[in-house]
């Protein structure tokens, strides 16, 4: 088993062109502490692929459709990070630029087995709100009228956070998160409570209909 497994996976390699491209990107990196760094990520290589995704995967249909309505725009998260979505001229490629602080640690800090929600230069002990199935919830509206829902949950060993972004009409735009470990029940419960798809088919029945 071991030999055939190794032989099989040894034949699975990164596309040579892509590998060189990524190497060149890394070569050009220059980071100075505290500066904003734009990170470019490809989210979809081609419209055809997006269509294929839409047609093949019922679980993502609603979300992908939402995303398509927002193919151009800049979305700011509560900690100053932002996502810029750009569509190319031929409209067959969508790129996303994420700008974040190099020192950005997210919204969670763990000190002496206590979980702290850190935001806007304040720090609040939310340990008692958090467990594998429980979370602390915070909401704010930014200057553009966008609502940010931030959840902090998990145990002190695997504390994490989730941020959901809604437009001024309450339409769900996107999310980002940092959740270590495998205990993510609280993530699904938090997202479900906010009325957004969680990726768990049991909780997402209304989105799959």
């Amino acid at each position: 088993m071991k030999d055939i497994y190794k032989n099989t996976f040894n034949k699975i390699n990164i596309n040579e062109h892509k590998k060189n491209e990524m190497r060149n990107n890394l070569k050009e990196l220059q980071v100075s502490k505290g500066k904003k760094v734009p990170v470019w990520m490809k989210v979809s290589v081609a419209a055809a692929m997006m269509v294929a995704v839409l047609m093949c995967i019922p679980t993502t249909r609603t979300i992908a459709a939402n995303a398509l309505k927002y193919v151009t725009g800049v979305f700011k998260f509560s900690d100053g990070s932002q996502v810029s979505v750009v569509q190319n001229d031929t409209k067959d490629e969508v790129s996303v630029a994420v700008t974040m602080d190099v020192d950005e640690q997210g919204y969670v800090e763990v000190v002496d087995e206590r979980i702290y929600f850190v935001h806007n230069n304040s720090k609040m002990d939310v340990t008692d709100f958090c467990s594998e199935t429980k979370y602390y919830q915070y909401e704010e509206i930014d200057e553009n009228g966008y609502k940010h829902m931030i959840f902090v949950g998990g145990t002190f060993e695997y504390a994490g956070w989730v941020e959901l972004l809604f437009d001024s009409e309450g339409k769900y735009i996107t999310n980002r998160m940092s959740v270590p470990g495998d205990c993510d029940t609280w993530v699904e419960l938090a997202m479900d409570s906010a009325g957004v798809p969680t990726g768990n088919p049991e909780l997402d029945k209304e989105f799959l209909e």
């Binding site: 099989t8 699975i12 995967i57 995303a67 996107t174 495998d182």
Partner: protein, 157 residues
């Protein structure tokens, strides 16, 4: 960490990161993007990596990045085996290897990952537990169940 150090890590371990990401995500295209994300993260965070533990460290970062990626529901892609096969950039596989790959890709993700780390990377249950934040007994159980499931799938394929 300097660019030179980062590139050295990239040259040495990017394929390992890619293969683990493939196991996690089931999509080579997504896995390629993940490779870049992992090395960017290591550079941005200016991680201090213990000498001799570079690969384990990078695979741990890969596992965390893949989990974050999968949890973001709008990025989830569930591909049928045929889609995975079409996306792969591998050398031609023998029929036996192709069958194995098909069976592996049909395994539930939680079994697929531990089997990859054990059979491909050669890590012990304890080391896998460290990478995936699991207890060694949980790793052992997943490998055992994964093997059983693999046998069952192989019979059906």
């Amino acid at each position: 960490m300097s660019n030179e150090e980062l590139l050295k890590l990239y040259d040495q371990y990017s394929e390992h990161v890619f293969r683990l990401a493939c196991s996690f995500l089931g999509s080579p295209v997504d896995a390629e993007d993940m490779v870049q994300n992992v090395f960017l993260k290591v550079y941005e965070k200016q991680c201090n990596i213990d000498k001799g533990k570079e690969k384990a460290f990078l695979l741990k970062v890969t596992a965390n990045c893949c989990r974050d990626y999968l949890r973001q529901a709008n990025k989830r892609r569930v591909l049928a085996y045929d889609d995975v096969e079409n996306e792969l950039y591998y050398e031609s596989l023998s029929s036996e290897e192709s069958e194995l790959l098909q069976a592996i890709m049909n395994l539930p993700r939680k079994y697929r990952i531990v089997i990859h780390l054990h059979y491909y990377e050669g890590y012990t249950f304890k080391e896998i537990g460290h990478i995936l934040h699991l207890s060694p007994s949980a790793v052992s159980m997943r490998i055992h169940r994964g093997r059983e499931e693999l046998k069952r799938i192989s019979r059906e394929v």
